[in-house]
Subunit: 78 residues, 2 copies
Amino acid sequence: MAIVRVEVTYKRGVEDPEAITVEKNLRILGYDSIKKVNISKIYEINLGDTKRDAEDLVMEISEKILSNPVIQSYRILR
Amino acid sequence: MAIVRVEVTYKRGVEDPEAITVEKNLRILGYDSIKKVNISKIYEINLGDTKRDAEDLVMEISEKILSNPVIQSYRILR
């Protein structure tokens, strides 16, 4: 039973609509100094009992379910 | 000019609809061993030029904009 953490972020140059909304809300509320917000998601996955290699399984899940490989990248955190 | 990272998570006992959807999708796709998925968001904020104390400013933003204090908690990462 392994717990693995995966970080998913938007690739450089791809606009994150949520980050843009946060930046806009910050401006509206008067936080004018703030230049930039980047958002990433951390998935903490309890793999349960499996015969598969943990890293191999997490890479597969990350590519199929947790991220959109066209616009996002992921990395397994140690 | 400081860059600060804030992690926002759902409080214990509060259901995260996104995590539940990910768990469901994993089951549908045959990843039956996986017991639990927890998701947190990391906001990396470039505070820009401000006279305010960075931690004080980030706490204010986290409570007002980045999290819903009723169901989520945040912590400033070092």
